[in-house]
């Protein structure tokens, strides 16, 4: 206490000493506390604050990195979204094109099949007409043949009864004439 009072006397005069005395300042204790506080501060700084600060700095960097990554991811997301949109647009366009082509191909196939069906139907009709014509001709021929047969049979039955001996002789004379012409 005396040492501190002397020091105060030597530097600031008696007024400082008076104030220190009023507040109960004990210079050796204060010095010891300053030293111990410095040591504590040093130790805290050395073994507590520094690691904590390092950890905090690391965390801050990580957070910054995270924020940067997040921004990057956001940008990537926006870019991806834009690309997705473009791809979707292209896919939609391509799909529309494919659908149009499919419609066109289907229309062409339908047209071809319709044409084939029409051709086949026409061929069937032509064949049916030809078959009908042939059948008609055949039936006419058969009818003609049957009619001819009836006519000939009727003629044969009637002729034998109506021929007179003079007719027979005249017909024989005609055959003799044929023989004479051959000579």
């Amino acid at each position: 206490m005396n040492t501190l009072g002397f020091f105060i006397d030597a530097t600031a005069g008696g007024q400082v000493q008076q104030i220190a005395k009023t507040f109960g300042v004990d210079w050796p204790h204060l010095l010891a506390q300053v030293i111990s506080f410095s040591i504590v501060c040093f130790l805290l700084h050395r073994y507590a604050y520094k690691p904590v600060l390092a950890i905090l700095d690391q965390r801050r960097r990580q957070i910054a990195q995270g924020i940067a990554d997040s921004e990057k991811i956001k940008a990537e997301l926006v870019k991806t979204e834009a690309e997705r949109h473009v791809i979707l647009m292209e896919a939609g366009t391509e799909a529309n094109k494919i659908i149009e082509e499919a419609h066109a191909a289907a229309a062409q196939v339908r047209k071809n099949e319709t044409q084939k069906a029409l051709t086949a139907a026409e061929q069937i009709i032509v064949q049916a007409q030809e078959a009908a014509a042939q059948e008609h001709t055949r039936m006419l021929g058969k009818l003609k043949s049957e009619l001819g047969l009836l006519v000939v049979r009727a003629t044969a039955q009637v002729t034998g009864k109506v021929l007179t001996p003079d007719d027979q002789q005249r017909m024989a004379e005609e055959t003799i004439q044929q023989l004479a012409k051959a000579a």
Binding site: T159, L163, A172
Partner: protein
């Protein structure tokens, strides 16, 4: 020795030529030749005789006029036919008359492969063929 049909035909033609007199078959020669073949009875003689018979039949048909008529012909008409046949095919031609009611009317003369047909049947057959039939009007349909 006759082993094949071709040999039989060849031999039969030779035998047939031997039986010809003035280009016509002599019946007595043909009979004599056939009897000789029958007596000898060499191998294949039946083939030879069959072929010889066929040639003789052709010769007879070539010089035989078959006259068919629906009704019997009057005598004078038969004589005219016979005369006309001999004038056309030679004096040695034989004329045979046959009644065939199926002819209906008229007369048909067949000499060898020549046919002179003036019958109603022939005209009816021609008529039926014009109608597209086969000509056999007597057959049932």
């Amino acid at each position: 020795m006759i082993r094949t049909t071709a040999q039989a035909k060849r031999k039969a033609r030779q035998l047939y030529r031997c039986c010809l007199v003035n280009g016509r078959l002599n019946p007595s020669r043909a009979q004599h030749a056939a009897s000789i073949v029958l007596e000898l009875k060499r191998r294949g003689y039946m083939r030879l005789l069959k072929e010889f018979q066929r040639l003789v039949r052709l010769e007879i048909a070539a010089y035989t006029a078959m006259v068919e008529s629906a009704t019997p012909l009057p005598r004078h008409l038969e004589n005219r036919v016979r005369e006309r046949v001999q004038n056309t095919y030679g004096a040695g031609t034989t004329t045979l008359f046959k009644r065939n009611p199926e002819l209906i009317g008229g007369m048909r003369i067949r000499i060898g492969s020549d046919v002179y047909d003036g019958t109603v049947e022939a005209k009816l057959v021609a008529l039926q063929r014009n109608f597209g039939g086969s000509g056999g009007y007597r057959q049932n349909p």
